[in-house]
């Protein structure tokens, strides 16, 4: 599934047989006529794109990058990936709006926001400021935004001494990402506790934003900057026998897949990190297969509705979070039948895409309401915030529920 560099990704258009299976699976093409579908803007248009020339087809901008097309393609065409590259090419020629530059800079926003929290949370709630944000920048005023935490996850980790274990059955670098560090430290706290309960030694290494928001908004050089920094910082850990585990499915997917296939980064460090990164529940599944997972759970008597994020599906490791949550006594787990919640990272926050994202997400919203659950469980933060904001049902990362079941 992973191709070695950008040209390879683009050249997978070679094997497209035009069957339209990808078109049938695209959640965006299903709801809007502005997007002709992945086959059309992907392998079909790719044959006509001139390297170095100005972009002539702009419909590709409506691709949300959800990745469903690449998964359903029986031939190995890396459709979503080539679309992302085409969008970046377009951004290079047409320029990147200020809004996209802001939305891409997750780490910077996080640093500033948490520095000035809780004051920094006021603009998110203030109608006038949100209205201005929509008119001046194009950030939809209706789109839900998370709140900055007063204390970052990293500061908790340092204070708690959680990193001081000497030994463990596994040595784990926990990749927290921007969302956990600046918005939801409780997710990281739960993750670290669960890992330690299961005998892992946890470190948090020096780390940067994974770079995905920059990549999605077309700033490949800046994204590569973050990528190379992360590889430099994390590769030594992998060489020292650590595995990298993350609770943000988009961050872990970026390590596994996008650095090489989309950003085109090659080399031993890129391979090392890609091959030793695990999504959190994928890692627990591995522990269980080795007979090392603690499965003594306290009851959690709750109806929970689980939504598998698009980026998680691209990991292609099944739904280990849903499988494990089901086994907690008292949990009634319902899974949504929806393919995509709609937000697709920063896509649904943009004013011209907000309605499309809403239409895409209708099935997910309906399934969640019909489930009459107390909470939504979802591995991706942007999906969580969007679904909670749009349905009014609170959302948690599955690891938080697991921690409750462990009583920690």
């Amino acid at each position: 599934m992973t191709s070695l560099h950008m040209l390879d990704t683009q050249l997978t258009s070679d094997v497209c047989i035009k069957c339209n299976i990808c078109t049938s699976a695209c959640p965006v093409a299903a709801v809007t006529d502005l997007f002709p579908g992945p086959k059309v803007v992907g392998p079909q248009a790719q044959r006509f794109r001139e390297p170095g020339a100005a972009s002539v087809d702009h419909a590709v901008d409506y691709c949300s990058g959800c990745g469903a097309c690449s998964l359903v393609c029986p031939h190995g065409v890396q459709i979503a990936e080539m679309n992302i590259i085409a969008k970046a090419e377009m951004a290079k020629r047409d320029g990147i709006p200020l809004r996209n530059r802001i939305l891409g800079r997750s780490e910077l926003l996080g640093k500033l926001g948490s520095l000035f929290a809780p004051l920094s949370n006021l603009p998110v709630q203030n109608k006038v400021l949100r209205g201005l944000g929509e008119r001046l920048l194009g950030i939809s005023q209706a789109a839900p935004f998370p709140r900055f935490a007063r204390r970052t996850f990293r500061s908790w980790f340092e204070r708690s001494g959680a990193g001081r274990d000497v030994m463990g059955i596994y040595k784990v670098v926990y990749f927290h990402g921007c969302s956990t560090n600046y918005y939801e430290p409780r997710v990281g706290q739960a993750a670290v506790k669960v890992l330690r309960l299961n005998g892992c030694k946890v470190s948090i290494a020096e780390q940067n934003c994974c770079g995905l928001p920059l990549q999605s908004n077309g700033e490949f050089s800046a994204a590569r900057g973050y990528a190379e920094a992360n590889l430099r910082k994390l590769a030594p850990y992998v060489r020292a026998g650590y595995v990298i585990v993350g609770t943000s499915t988009s961050c872990t997917l970026t390590f596994k897949h996008e650095y090489r296939s989309v950003l085109g980064i090659q080399g031993a460090e890129a391979d090392l990190v890609a091959e030793n990164t695990y999504d959190f529940f994928e890692f627990l599944q591995k522990l269980e297969a080795e007979g090392r997972l603690n499965t003594v759970f306290r009851p959690v008597r709750e109806r929970i509705v689980y939504h598998a994020p698009c980026q998680f599906r691209t990991h292609a490791v099944g739904r280990p979070a849903a499988d494990l949550l089901r086994r907690i006594p008292g949990v009634t787990l319902i899974e949504t039948q929806a393919d995509c919640c709609g937000v697709a990272g920063t896509y649904g926050l943009k004013v011209e895409k907000y309605q499309i994202a809403t239409d895409v997400g209708q099935k997910a919203f309906e399934d969640i309401r019909a489930a009459q659950a107390a909470r939504i469980a979802c591995d991706s933060e942007t999906c969580r915030w969007w679904l909670a904001g749009r349905t009014g049902v609170p959302a948690a990362h599955p690891v938080e529920i697991l921690a409750e079941a462990y009583g920690i």
Binding site: I21, T23, S24, H257, E290, T314
Partner: protein
């Protein structure tokens, strides 16, 4: 190499054979995973169940059961496990579809003759209710809808060919009310429109005048994607005429309906479907399974020559993940979706386990419209669906091959695709 996870049954391939096998296995209580790189032929086919439509001279067959039973000793894939298995497989599939509110009608001893999107006549054994009124031998003129703006349905051409064949047909022009808006319109775009009862109401109201005097109307197979919503039934009631669907170029809406039914059936029974990674077979050096769940029965049943496969290796985003399985069903199809591959001219490989493949010197016929010899290439199996070599020896005891991967059938020429898929999937699961 340690397994990421363990299953009782892993089915490789998410076409009709794979999804049916997965649903059957899950319903029997097996911990089941259907895993595939991409979706299968359901999304490309007509959405019907063909058992045997043509004889060896490519003539229409009235009674598929009689046709395939003609040479009882022959090793046609749909008959490998015998006629009763085929019957049960079809009946079971019909039950699943009926339970989902989308019954498939028909019988093994009588084919439908339905019109194609070129106006040829296409035989099939089981069809959705929404196709049935297209039976060409039914008396009374049929009308076909010309839908300006939709590029994949040519009513004039169809009517001309049907009439020339002795089945009177005419064309009636119907307005889709501004849909589809975009130029690259696909069947799925229209189908989603017809899922909306409000749209159906508007369209029915608008069409009433144009349909005066029409008793049977053929539309492309776009009457709804959500099979349980009864879009066809609703529209038929509103128009108060016989209404039928005709399958068109991919993406196949009726095929997607069948896929969705099987997926829901499978998941409701606790099975999992993972679409995305490429799959390779996992065989340990000593040809045993490392699974600690290996039962005594399996150990005892192991012969001295046959070996055990450990499971499959999924090529996921972050590298290979090993999935252990007690039984592996290969439903990977023929060349189209990569169950078989021809890396260079004249070479053929089975892509998951490298199983021996029955092949021949001659691959291609000079005329495009003839039967192509390579269509019969594939994996040989015994009546339990276990792949065998030329000497008839089983290769891996716990591996089964079903569907298009099998040798011996020119599925397009014979009109036998789905019958083979269902019968062999049934046989494989029954033998676990």
């Amino acid at each position: 190499m340690t397994a990421q996870s363990r299953y009782d049954v892993i089915v490789v391939g998410a076409g009709l054979a794979g999804m049916f096998a997965g649903a059957l296995a899950a319903r029997r209580g097996a911990r089941t995973l259907v895993i595939a790189r991409g979706l299968g032929g359901t999304h490309l086919g007509p959405g019907t169940v063909d058992v045997r439509g043509y004889d060896s001279a490519r003539r229409l067959v009235n009674n598929p059961e009689a046709e395939i039973n003609q040479k009882p000793g022959q090793r046609h894939p749909s008959m490998l496990a015998g006629l009763p298995a085929l019957r049960e497989a079809l009946a079971e599939f019909q039950k699943m579809c009926a339970a989902a509110g989308y019954p498939l009608i028909g019988a093994l001893d009588e084919n439908f003759f339905l019109p194609t999107a070129m106006g040829a006549v296409r035989p099939t054994c089981l069809a959705p209710e929404s196709f049935a009124a297209g039976e060409v031998r039914q008396t009374g003129e049929l009308a076909l809808a010309r839908l300006p703006g939709f590029r994949d349905f040519f009513a004039d051409l169809m009517a001309a060919n049907l009439s020339a064949a002795g089945y009177p047909a005419r064309v009636v022009s119907l307005d889709l009310l501004g849909a589809p808006i975009r130029r690259d319109s696909f069947a799925t775009d229209l189908a989603r429109l017809f899922d909306d009862p409000g749209y159906r109401e508007k369209v029915a109201h608008h069409w009433r005048a144009a349909l005066k005097g029409v008793t049977r109307l053929g539309l492309p197979a776009i009457l709804g994607l959500r099979e349980t919503d009864g879009a066809w039934r609703d529209l038929r009631a509103r128009l108060d005429i016989e209404l039928f669907e005709i399958p068109i170029l991919p993406p196949s809406v009726p095929g997607m309906r069948l896929f969705n039914i099987l997926k829901k059936t499978l998941e409701a029974a606790g099975g999992r479907v993972t679409i995305g990674p490429g799959i390779k077979g996992w065989v340990n050096a000593d040809h045993t399974s490392q699974s600690r769940m290996q039962s005594a029965r399996t150990v005892a049943a192991r012969t001295t020559t046959a070996r055990i496969a450990a499971g499959v290796i999924a090529e996921t985003a972050g590298g290979p993940r090993y999935y252990a399985a007690r039984h592996i069903i290969l439903a990977t199809g023929s060349f189209r979706h990569g169950g078989l591959e021809a890396p260079t001219k004249g070479k053929i490989i089975e892509t998951v386990f490298g199983l021996p493949v029955m092949t021949n010197e001659e691959w291609f016929a000079p005329l495009y419209s003839e039967a192509q010899p390579y269509a019969r290439f594939g994996v040989r199996v015994n009546e339990k669906m276990q792949p065998v070599n030329e000497a008839g020896e089983v290769i891996y005891e716990n591996v089964f091959a079903v569907g298009g991967l099998l040798a011996g059938a020119d599925r397009n020429g014979e009109g036998s695709r789905e019958g083979i898929d269902l019968a062999t999937a049934w046989a494989a699961i029954s033998n676990l």
